[in-house]
Symmetry: C2
Subunit: 135 residues, 2 copies
Amino acid sequence: MLHLSKKIEYGLIALRHIASEVNGCVVTAKEISDKYHISYELLAKVLQKLTREGIIISYQGVKGGYILARKPDQIKLSDVIYAIEGKSNISLMNCEAEKPEMCNIFSTCTIKYPLAKIQDIINNVFNDVTISEIV
Amino acid sequence: MLHLSKKIEYGLIALRHIASEVNGCVVTAKEISDKYHISYELLAKVLQKLTREGIIISYQGVKGGYILARKPDQIKLSDVIYAIEGKSNISLMNCEAEKPEMCNIFSTCTIKYPLAKIQDIINNVFNDVTISEIV
DNA sequence: ATAAATAGGACTAAAAAGGTCGTATATATA
DNA sequence: TATATATACGACCTTTTTAGTCCTATTTAT
Ligand code: SF4
Ligand code: SF4
């Protein structure tokens, strides 16, 4: 119910791997999927999403691969989750996640404000932790 | 991805309602499902689970219903989640949730210990918050 | 006896997550 | 310039989880 998705875990494992690589060396999706026994296609798509959000930089073609776009301590856990799953998925409640009254109980719900406080705490945790802390 | 399930939300709304009821009065599942527009059957099962775990006390038969088993400040959010969804669902990773190597990446996974630290923080949050704080 | 309540299992439907496939594009280098 | 190796990305399928329904049993105040 609070589980990080496999995509997030794969993304973090990959980022950790890329971060701990010797300077300048690109890392390919295949290398990572082989080393950690992750589905290549799935990992590839995760890395593509991280690329689109500017967390890593990709080089196409032969000798291509990925490097970090910025230092590990500049990549927040919340950035990674946002890039892979979208901002909505970091929130505890659907009414926080989706824009309006996605929840058909919204008007009578008595717990949304109390839960929002917990949400803040969780947000702070995910904003404070960076990739440098998982290397 | 971090969403609380509807069951948890329904449980919290119900507990809040029961907690704010005038002393001694039992509350029925029907009252709650009507007032907050929640599926009666689903709510009923949630309340049954809360009863089984000793969070609320049930009275059967006519004039039956539910009261809190202990004071609101003695009911932790983690108790509620545990009662409704089971202990495993409060954890960020499957390897924490399920007993052994539920995850087929476990041996090569490089992020489980870093994530365990985040897990601790999350656990503290859910252990610290009680029903009295959502009333 | 009856009506109003909880108890709880079995089942179905809907949504989310996980994973695969096919094809396009870029590029180093032989 | 042909080729092999890499990323890019959408479409699709399968599995798992969540949400919700239905039915029947039991308890108990009146
Ligand atoms: S309105 Fe209440 S029940 Fe609905 S999503 Fe928000 S917190 Fe949850
Ligand atoms: S071993 Fe790693 S990938 Fe597997 S569940 Fe644990 S943290 Fe997640």
